[in-house]
Amino acid sequence: MLPARFTEDLAQMGGAVAGGLGAEYIKTQLLKNVQNVETTSLLADFGIAAVGIFGASQIRGTFASLAEGLALGALGHAGVTLLGFLGRAGAQSRVFYPTYVSSYYSPPAVGSSVLEI
């Protein structure tokens, strides 16, 4: 029989993995056709975390640690999403540049001053 503390830690780790997996599954599978998928996913992460925290507050023992882990995993997933937001906010915006009809103003071939038509 493993010590209770060790069991609880394992449960917490398992919960964290499950929380992260679940959050990622929700984002990539359940929300893939949603327009603001990242914002919605963020809300889902916080929702899972809230469930985990509430669960941990209501029960004792190994299952409480599992619930804590679930919350931690979901919040970790939220952190990754927020990091993506911060990265994009700092990047330059893409600017549209018109392209020209490619062959309209092609100069003659290199080395030749004669336009062959």
Binding site: Y105, V114, I117
Partner: protein, 367 residues
């Protein structure tokens, strides 16, 4: 930066523009006056056409640029109607493709480009730019906007850019076009021009060139009369009633005039009963119709469609097609009679229903 694509001028008309009248705003009203030591070249004219709230297109039919108070309507005549729009907003063009007046001077003089006379045909001015807008047969009541995009430099800035080894500060406008299939060569000889403020408007695309003149050529037309069944319809101004204005003449009598036109694009907006569109070259001993066999252009199948993407895309989508490349290559009209023609399918095409547009480079030699 070597060049900055910027707005050289913008004019917005509000109120009513009466039928068959011209609006001639000043350069100052469009913020299109240059400083003393500045030079500019117009790459593209963007037109936001007038449309009634119910979608009815109002007839902004002609937009002509004026370079340093020299009108160039015989070279550049753009249609501003929403359906046959020749200057759609750059963000609204299919695949982002626009047809500019030419390549900017900096791009044209980047080595190797041994024939900048063919490419450096942007509209050049050194003092002020303005436009003339003419209404068609009915009043224009809705606002419209014309925006000139291009590059502006100070003389010192341009000299510094062109002093780099990868550029040439001298533009050699001489052009040779070898039309191998038809066994002929077009040669235009013109002395090299130092690119500076004094010579700016004498470069290709400038309004003060001495002959031979090299200018971009943009023109549109419409069949003012119904077609004659199974006969070609020519967009000739000298036949009374075929087209409305001389600036819409697509009948090039270069057999008697010392001019040549290098056609790069041809567009047509088909109408009911239209079947064929082509360019006819009278002196061609191989086949007078180009492309050979004519080009099928109907309301259901039109490879030359230009302007508003409708009817091939939904009408409420603000998308436009540029004038298509003609037959995948350039076509030379030189020392011959050349003209754009259309033909119906055995039933008349109604008057004022087919729009055609052409673009290329026009050469005017000394007589």
């Amino acid at each position: 930066m070597r060049k900055e694509l910027s707005i050289l001028g913008q004019w917005t008309h509000t109120g009513t523009l009466a039928a068959n009248t011209e609006w001639q705003p000043s350069a100052a009203s469009g913020n299109a006056e240059l400083d003393t030591d500045e030079l500019a070249e117009v790459l593209y004219l963007e037109i936001t056409p007038p449309v009634l709230p119910d979608g009815t297109i109002e007839p902004l039919e002609h937009v002509w640029p004026v370079l340093d108070e020299t009108p160039i309507r015989e070279y550049v005549n753009l249609c501003g109607r929403k359906d046959a729009l020749m200057g759609p907003r750059m963000r609204h063009t299919y695949e982002g493709m626009i047809v500019p007046f030419g390549m900017g001077i900096v791009d044209s003089l980047h080595r190797p480009n041994p024939a900048p006379g063919l490419t450096a045909t942007t509209l050049k001015y050194k003092d002020k730019l303005r436009i003339i807008a003419r209404a068609g047969a009915t009043d224009i009541t809705q606002p419209f906007t014309i925006t000139a995009w291009g590059y502006r430099y100070t003389e010192e800035e341009l000299a510094r850019i062109l002093s780099a080894p990868e550029y040439s500060p001298v533009l050699n406008p001489s052009v040779t076009i070898n039309d191998r299939g038809r066994g002929r060569v077009f040669s235009l000889s013109k002395a090299p021009i130092q690119v500076n403020a004094a010579n700016w408007d004498r470069l290709p695309g400038g309004a003060k060139q001495e002959k031979p003149i090299i200018m971009p050529f943009f023109r549109w037309s419409r069949n003012a009369k119904a077609t004659t069944v199974n006969m070609e319809y020519q967009f000739r101004y000298d036949i009374v009633g075929n087209v409305d204005l001389p600036e819409m003449d697509l009948y090039f009598t270069f057999d008697i005039k010392a001019k040549a036109l290098l056609v790069k694009g041809l567009g047509v907006r088909a109408a009911t009963n239209l079947k064929y569109t082509w360019i006819n070259l009278s002196a061609d001993t191989l086949h007078k119709e180009h492309p050979k066999g004519k080009l099928l252009t109907t309301v259901d199948y039109n490879p030359l469609h230009f302007g508003m993407a409708y009817p091939f895309w939904p009408a409420d989508l603000p998308m436009y097609y540029a004038i298509p490349r003609f037959a995948g290559d350039d076509l030379l009209i030189y020392k011959e009679l050349g003209y754009i023609a259309i033909q119906d399918n055995g039933t008349q095409v109604a008057a004022n229903s087919v729009y055609v547009a052409i673009n290329g480079v026009l050469f005017e030699m000394a007589e």
